[in-house]
Symmetry: D2
Subunit: 265 residues, 4 copies
């Protein structure tokens, strides 16, 4: 059968990324405490395309995913998928992006009633033309932030507080656990949030938050400071977006540090 994709073209422009986007797929992710957990991912897979080839064989991305498998997704499995993409698609560079909800058991602070917290996570793997492998881990944690300014204005009544989303993207040499990034984020906010809170817990959470007010500026600085103390960090980007209770727009802050282009072999 005809193979238009392999057609040789002249005067073409090299394409940075070509592939499949938005594929839903059940995966199994490594879990620090329980070994692994089932979840459902959105997956993007791209390779570069030299200037003389017309197209990439899209069905091969799916075949690679199906054959290599997405069980116990970790650093090693992602590298294996990228190497397969480079080989089977004759590409010099390969990129894999996996986004998924991740769940962690979290007892309420006083009553210890069990609950399950969801964190949206992402993995961005690349294997480039110089055989550098790099992996960025993204963790999103919803937190409670209480406004320091509002607290000063109304010290004996309620300061405005709201759900905020803190996002950490981090590129490191050694492995970093999702759970460890969550701990860094939650300890930097006015308070972690919980799925189940009894009255004693609700009081505890709010009293704590009242005594630990945080601007979006404060929380990204505190997270960035803690990340700087970790070993082997090559690059990070920390964001926080507060869904302000007093406005219909959000407050936002971002710090980026390091060299995004660095990778390891």
């Amino acid at each position: 059968m005809i193979d238009l994709q392999s057609e040789i073209i002249e005067g073409g422009i090299e394409i940075d990324r070509v592939g499949i986007k938005g594929l839903s797929y059940p995966i199994l992710v490594k879990d620090k405490l329980q070994g692994s957990q089932y979840t459902v991912a959105k997956i993007n897979m791209y390779v570069n395309l030299p200037n003389h080839f017309r197209g990439a064989h899209m069905s091969r991305f799916l075949e690679i995913l199906h054959q290599v498998g997405v069980y116990k997704i970790n650093r090693k499995r992602i590298k294996l998928l990228l190497l397969n993409m480079k080989e089977i698609l004759s590409a010099k560079a390969a990129h894999l992006e996996i986004f998924f909800p991740y769940f962690v058991k979290k007892p309420a602070p006083i009553s210890k009633v069990e609950g399950l917290n969801e964190y949206q996570c992402g993995l961005y793997g690349s294997h480039d033309e110089n055989n550098n492998f790099s992996l960025v881990l993204e963790v999103n944690a919803m937190v409670l932030n209480l406004c320091p300014c509002s607290r000063e204005l109304s010290p004996n009544t309620s300061a405005h507080n709201q759900r905020g989303r803190a996002t950490v993207k981090i590129k490191s040499g050694p492995l970093i656990w999702i759970e460890d990034v969550i701990e860094i984020i939650e300890s930097s906010a006015s308070s972690p949030i919980y799925s189940t809170l009894k009255r004693v817990d609700e009081k505890y959470v709010m009293d704590n938050a009242h005594n630990k007010p945080r601007f979006v500026e404060d929380i990204v600085r505190e997270i960035a400071f803690k990340l700087t103390n970790l070993d082997g960090i090559l690059w990070y980007c920390v964001e926080c977006e507060n869904f302000e209770s007093i406005h219909n727009h959000n407050a936002y802050a971002m710090i980026e540090k390091g060299n995004h282009l660095l990778g390891s072999q």
Copy 2:
């Protein structure tokens, strides 16, 4: 040219709604204070299709919209669009849905600094086989709700408070202004929210909210009570969804009253 849509089929099932969905379109909406305002809408247009016709002529929906126009959208213009849809598409019933952001000037409570608040609105018009015309107005207002339980637990510090979305859908005989529904919603929440607040305003908003705590249950009941006192209400549905600052899920309440099937001529 061939006209497959007009093909007569046998043993067909009547289709309740057929038409176009998700059309983006700039419109001009009637405004209580300024006469009118420009905005951008998402529009759905449907007719019923008798069992013996194969299809509806989809391009006609667009032609009707373009010819009748969507300028100064109000009760009369919607009825005109529906009557055109029934006639030109030879249908017994027609339905038109228009969703759009609507802006209202709102000065800060103390400093009087000017701001603009956005309200997502909707209009659901129907003209049925008995020539009944009905129109549902939907208004979404983002509000601040402060938890009564949390306030009792921590009377001298911060209660948890959050952005919430209150949604009112209302079918009435006479015209009801978007601005009047907004007033009903905002006066029933712990506080309205604002786009611009100086420090004096922020203190005022939070002190007020602290003294007016509201569960989602409280706010839907208060809105429902006020709607009951309006003239000519045939049906309503009131919802409130709080994006809880202490959880990663939402609190929700809903009250529906009246006969959704009623219309006027």
Copy 3:
């Protein structure tokens, strides 16, 4: 500690639904072929609230979910969750909504290369004040629809074709498998869609679709006709929305039949 929710109020309005919305939760769903499959759900849980109570105890919804469990979600488990909600929250009616992606293995039609198809599904369970239990199953299947009109206009070249989403909601006495609803939908479209297609498969899919053109009107009628032949159907709603390749808006059709209020005991 104070219990504001149990406060007795006067002149209150009964609230139709109060509870939690948008909770992310990992679940295990019954699967016709493999026994069960892991997935991640969005969950809503509501009860009614009599006019004399101020509020519902929101944390109890979470506790019920955690204690009853969401393993092997099926008719029986949903009924159990609803009965627990009624008892523990002292409510006359309870509602549970669970939305989740569901995966089915689907080999390519000719090459038989294995692939995995995603279907967004939903379960709407209710237990009302007359002890009627009802369960609505929702299945969304993405399909390929090829326009009959375009095919007549260009019989020897390409008719426009596009991805479409067909949605079936169905309330029945006996159990209906997700897989059986998928089969009804996919056999009514111009063609099913696949995650992995080799060239021989792509040719087969398009030749088939070319010979089976379908308007949105055709597909909802064909699905409705097949549903009518199933045993024990109390109510259904069939929708199809085509993301037209020639427009930036969608074509839509809907048929609803039966009595939505019916339930079984």
Copy 4:
């Protein structure tokens, strides 16, 4: 009143961006043919924050927007907004992002029936610490792409075709009109899409598309080639994402060229 944001802190980390995100706001945009058009935008406004200041005064962003105005948004007005942000917030760098739907009249190709096409657009303005001003224009156009491979496999029947979204981001010295970018995109796809098509138009569109099949790879290359021929381009990124009619995932390609960091004064 207390001013916590102006508090001097020690050992702080400089924050790259702090400000407001997701503000809805009605704007007036310059239009090549009609002078200007009303639309509704989502706006983000950020400044950098030196290491010794605790926070930014968020309400000032709103005041600047309200005072400078967002009427006849163009290069000059964006520069003015950025300069105001730098001055009033005492910042060395300022960033403004504006996203909005933009409408262009587009007659059907044969019948000349009038229609309105929507294009999602964006403007990313920055004024950095070296007083470099840069502006990126983003234009998204929905197009029809017909698969070259499928066309070869089924030359006398239907090739699969689908709606695709082509995205061009471009940084240039001189002004580039949205209309000119749309023309470049639409002439590079299998066919433009239209809001209103009569049967003669539908035949024309599909016959044309059948004779101009395009992979995502083809369209991004063709757009990139045409952009290279424009004057004063400093950087561009071209993407295309096809919502494949035969799959439930998308095909994607991207080319990026030039120096993203370049700006003009």
